[in-house]
């Protein structure tokens, strides 16, 4: 079984700088980590490989420094890492990102071995859209399984897979064919520590580095800013409310009563509402 896991390197902190010309977020100088949601996808892939045999390829699209995240993923026990990096990818929105990643996954299938499952995280903590997974699935014509909480069974001979998928009011148990794309829900497994041999192997491992051309992307116009239908037109700070917060100055034992007075003074009907709530509670 060959599994590809898409991970993204994301800034670790809430520090932010915005490029004054392109209005895109500048990542230089901010410490980075693997998108935390993607770790659940990595773990699930490793588990399936341990159960069924095969290989796990980690894929990321990002600047050259994203190699760090790939090495980190190798320390968990992944077999291969591919870094998709090219200046043409700068400024990609989700449509352009899914195009580049889908192209690279197709190329990974041709270069190494056919891909059975593609994993992504539920969403990133920077982009936060949960759109890249479905985008890859559509482009590659894979069955799309989002918000998966459990991979119940994989049948490599019958080319089928069963998963539990989180829906709004419950859980759907689904069966579909392989290959498929899974976006893994957070908190669904415990990411392993990784062994010492894996750590040593990861430090020495050769990362496969591909440009757009290497990934078989003929039309770079579909990548980066040029290939992104959405544009960030304005980045701005939220404005304070027109009226300033009424500050309760009382301290010590009076503070609580003063605060309650202030609340009921601003919203006289709240007291009656609270009475109703408290009675019904």
């Amino acid at each position: 079984m060959h599994i590809v896991v898409c991970i993204k390197q994301v800034p670790d902190s809430a520090q932010i700088r915005v490029h004054p010309v392109t209005n895109t977020i500048m990542r230089q100088g901010v410490p980075t980590i693997i998108n935390p949601y993607d770790l659940f996808a990595v773990e699930e892939a490793l588990r399936l490989r341990d159960q069924h045999g095969g290989t796990v390829t980690i894929l990321t699209m990002g600047p050259p420094m994203a190699e760090e995240s790939l090495r980190k993923a190798l320390t968990f026990g992944a077999d291969r890492a591919v870094l998709l990096t090219d200046r043409f990818f700068a400024g990609s929105d989700t449509l352009a990102t899914s195009y580049a990643l889908a192209s690279a996954i197709a190329r990974i299938g041709e270069t190494f071995e056919p891909v059975d499952i593609v994993f992504t995280g539920k969403q990133t903590i920077d982009g936060d859209t949960a759109q890249v997974g479905p985008g890859i699935a559509k482009r590659l014509g894979l069955a799309q399984l989002t918000y998966v909480s459990r991979v119940a069974a994989v049948d490599l001979v019958g080319r089928a897979i069963e998963v539990d998928r989180r829906a709004e009011g419950g859980v759907q148990a689904l069966r579909t064919r392989l290959p498929c794309l899974i976006t893994m829900l957070e908190g669904t497994n415990d990411i392993r520590r990784g062994s010492l041999p894996d750590a040593l192997r990861a430090a020495r491992a050769e990362i496969v580095v591909w440009s757009a051309k290497d990934a078989g992307i003929a039309d770079v116009g579909k990548c980066g800013l040029r290939g992104s239908p959405t544009v960030v037109k304005r980045v701005f700070a939220p404005s304070p409310r027109a009226e300033k917060a009424a500050m309760v100055e009382a301290g010590g034992p009076e503070a609580a009563d003063a605060l309650i007075e202030a609340i009921f003074a601003q919203r006289p009907r709240l007291e009656a509402d609270l009475a109703t709530l408290v009675r019904g509670y």
Partner: protein, 368 residues
């Protein structure tokens, strides 16, 4: 966000690209709202979006349509009719036995076909597990832009959809446009937009559209559907009063100061994201951009700084009360009432004071 804000960075670079909509998109008109129903139940976010869609359609001078996809039968029809009561001029329906349960393939095909046939200018969906699964697939098939988890929608002077959402970093918002593609797609989380008033109104038009697909064409099968137990659902999103704690509480044990106050008020309790990340509270208690959006009459936040991702989740609250030791905490920029003090000291006292004040009613509760 009610007030206009000053741009931190001027629009420039590609954002200044002169908009020239390719000829093939010129016929795209009207605003559509996807009416999400699962097991015969319409998700309330659909009506919240219908209220928002109405405003956009009025500004553009176009029609507002509800889109209902589902099994043939009364539930689907009822949802289409109900759309009118929340502001839709017309409804499109695609009904087929294979649409009884949500599955990506037939639903994306149904919605993509509708869009290609009737060419809407704007398409809004709820940012639910279903809405996001569907929106991502449809936008990719149509090769158009999709903006996730918007907190404000508007149309600008030249009629483009301006979709605003928080951006990375905890302090900024950004407005995103889909310049040269149609439809302009956006998802919005439940409770971000106010629920419009329901007005009994007949549906103007019902347009039924076929789906040329059979069960054999759908590779994904639903084996079972296991509904959540009611006990597993918290009422946080719909509660009238919410008390929440943040990192300022200092330790997981101190969180009981929050639950105690909540209990005296008959309120629900919630928290900021770091508490979930630290494992102090379960994910369903998180309030904000990546947690629950709430619209209570009273929101009390203790030890929460008020980052934009938290703020957007409480923007709909009638009254925000903030307890924070830092008088410069951003939460005081949007709280109605603030107090600069140690929450660990104030919370027990506040609980006691509310208990005294509400005691006649608490007694009623015990008596009945």
């Amino acid at each position: 966000m009610a007030e206009p804000a000053k741009p931190a960075a001027p629009a420039s670079g590609r954002a200044n690209t002169k908009k020239e909509l390719p000829e093939r998109f010129r016929n795209h008109k009207h605003v559509w709202v996807f009416v999400e129903q699962e097991r015969g139940q319409v998700h309330p976010v659909s009506w919240e979006l219908m209220g928002e869609g109405r405003k956009l359609a009025d500004k553009l001078g176009v029609e507002l349509a509800g889109v209902v996809i589902g099994a043939p039968g009364e539930a689907t029809l009822a949802a289409a009719r109900e759309a009118a009561c929340y502001g839709a001029d017309l409804a499109y329906t695609v009904t087929h036995d294979i649409l009884a349960d949500y599955r990506n393939e037939p639903y994306s095909k149904a919605l993509t076909d509708l869009v290609e046939t009737f060419q809407p200018e704007i398409l809004l969906l709820g940012a639910t597990t279903l809405g996001r699964d569907l929106a991502g697939a449809v936008a990719t098939t149509l090769l158009t832009g999709l903006t996730a988890d918007c907190t404000a929608l508007d149309v600008d002077a030249d009629g483009s959809l301006a979709a605003t959402r928080p951006t990375f970093g905890g302090s900024l918002l950004c407005t995103i446009y889909t310049l040269n593609f149609r439809p302009q797609m956006a998802t919005v989380r439940p409770r971000v937009m106010a629920m419009p008033e329901r007005v009994e109104r007949p549906l103007g038009r019902l347009v039924e559209h076929p789906l040329s697909m059979a069960e054999e064409d759908v590779v994904t099968k639903v084996l079972r559907y296991i509904p959540d137990r009611d006990s597993a659902k918290s009422n946080l999103a719909y509660a009238d009063v919410v008390v929440a704690g943040g990192l300022g509480l200092g330790s997981p044990e101190n969180f009981q100061l929050i639950t105690q106050l909540a209990s005296v008020l008959g309120a629900e309790y919630g928290c900021s994201r770091p508490l979930v990340q630290k494992g102090w509270q379960p994910a369903e208690r998180q309030i904000g951009q990546t947690g629950k959006t709430i619209r209570p009459k009273l929101y009390i936040a203790a030890g929460i700084s008020g980052a934009i991702q938290h703020r957007v989740g409480v923007e709909g609250a009638d009254l925000v009360v903030a307890i924070n030791t830092d008088k410069n905490a951003p939460i005081f920029d949007f709280a109605h009432i603030g107090i600069v003090t140690d929450a660990l000291h104030l919370l027990p006292r506040l609980t006691e004071a509310f208990r005294r004040r509400l005691s006649p009613h608490i007694r009623d509760r015990i008596a009945s």
